[in-house]
Symmetry: C2
Subunit: 309 residues, 2 copies
């Protein structure tokens, strides 16, 4: 039965003229009532729920309007805190940051599904694997069970996600099989998911895996370890001044660099406490707001994209 | 096979003259080379691993000598941090604080065993139950599976526990069945466990469940919500001045009252951030050290008790 479904889905994908369809219809901007060359931006904070310091900074950034969308890690210990917030702030644009890894050393988490049902995802101590290497085989079924369990816990605890995405891009970068799991579950739950047109060249299975009504983000920007701390504002400033027409998602990581966050990330600086404090500081600052005005950039949320679609 | 073991164990317990044996042999104090009326004290910090703030305060208190023993919650998110510390500080007197509940609201944890194997321990979202009420039925097998899983993870991650005890006293107060699980597993692993002679009157099954070589602590002191914050030092001061001969364990809860700890415990003040900061402050302070000297109290660890036995 399941095989038959997969076959039918693959057939549908094979028969659907994926590439030309985007050009033949109204753009997202036009559907939202903007000019066809409008510059639309989602300022998206990842990793909500990971620590209290991430939750507190994300809530502050959302409430001050500097961040307008975010996604939540259901397996993490501070998930109940953000679930409680989401339940009482139903306008907030929260998605689920589907999580299959626990990349820290001193602070860890494991699957929501019973771990004996997702053996390829867990390490010898029962946490999610710290990393996936070329030799790691992730069972498609384990990934599917686990993301279903995360979505179910989120719904059970009162979250109505506006979108899905994938922690550390694992569901995009690992191959067709895992991306197809994301698409299948997202379609079934009728929740849009993050995917970017710019990624199609490197990973053709992404485009091939999409259905005719899936939202495709045009561009994405995320800062990486190549940018030294003192160039943070310059990097984002340049990205904003060079923003192209269409929908761009800035994937950022905010937190307060307090004792908890410093301890949770102390084994390396990348995506660490100071990194996340810099993201918080830039996107909460006046410079960012001025640049948006100056460059005539419109903030949009996943909820808006979803309604337009 | 397992049933046979249980039967033999029960038979041994039934045949062992538990009550008279303590009087007929050397006291722990004497075995440790102290006078028979010496006042021995374990200053024991519970809940290590619960948060980073608990870990940091416990480590500081252990290193300054004001706390000399502690026990670790394996299912908690910050367990890896304290496991790493324990591995590199093998003199530290760490036990395992066997945990079957997740009593907080915004910050939660669940079982180490696959949760479908311990269904009576988990709530509808897969965390440990927030609380056990009169109507809660905990399956003995689930409790045993879970505490075995916690001990296995602790060993696998490099901890060699000097003792076992039970978070929120659940394995002592819930009835004979769960206490017998603790005793059986502790005997099998050859690790001493916390049990107090003063408890026998209220819970006769505790005494009945012991083996002939089990260590029995004479007295225990723990502060409770009836003590107002401004009376904290007075409560402990009185307890120290009134300390009786034999072995007493002070069960305390230390943490730094930082953002993480305040958020993790914000739904109630009991055993909250300020409570734990007060415990840290009293036991790190000069008054405590002076009282110990003045009252001729000797600090002992679980490791020392174990070697004496």
């Amino acid at each position: 039965m399941r095989r038959k479904h997969v076959f039918v889905l693959l057939l549908m994908i094979a028969l659907s003229p994926a590439a030309p369809r985007a050009q033949s219809r109204k753009s997202i901007a036009e559907k939202l009532g903007f000019a066809s060359d409008a510059k639309l931006l989602i300022v998206h904070a990842d990793d909500v729920g990971m620590t209290h310091a991430v939750n507190a900074a994300t809530i502050k950034a959302l409430e001050s309007g500097s961040v307008n969308s975010a996604s939540i890690m259901v397996p993490c210990p501070w998930f109940p805190e953000i679930a409680d917030y989401a339940k009482t702030h139903t306008d907030a644009d929260f998605g689920l940051h589907l999580t299959l890894t626990a990349e820290r050393v001193y602070y860890r988490w494991g699957p929501v599904a019973p771990r004996d049902q997702v053996p390829s995802l867990v390490d010898e101590n029962g946490y999610f694997r710290h990393d996936w290497t070329a030799g790691t085989h992730i069972e498609r079924r384990d990934a599917e069970r686990e993301i279903r369990a995360q979505i179910e816990r989120a719904y059970a605890m009162g979250i109505r996600p506006t979108h899905l995405d994938s922690h550390q891009y694992r569901l995009y970068q690992t191959g067709k099989e895992l991306f197809d799991v994301l698409v299948r579950v997202a379609h079934e739950k009728r929740v849009p998911f993050f995917v970017v047109r710019e990624w199609f060249a490197d990973h053709p299975y992404l485009e091939a895996g999409l259905g005719p009504d899936d939202i495709v983000i045009d561009h994405t920007v995320t800062i990486d370890p190549g940018v030294p701390p003192e160039k943070w504002a310059e990097f984002y400033g340049t990205a904003i001044r060079n923003l192209q027409p269409g929908v761009t998602e800035f994937v950022i990581h905010v937190a307060f660099a307090d004792e908890e966050m410093k301890a949770a990330t102390r084994e390396r600086d990348t995506w660490g406490a100071a990194w996340r404090q810099r993201d918080f500081d830039f996107f909460s600052g006046a410079q960012f707001r001025e640049l948006l005005q100056q460059e005539k950039i419109h903030l949009v949320t996943w909820r808006q994209l979803s309604h337009a679609q």
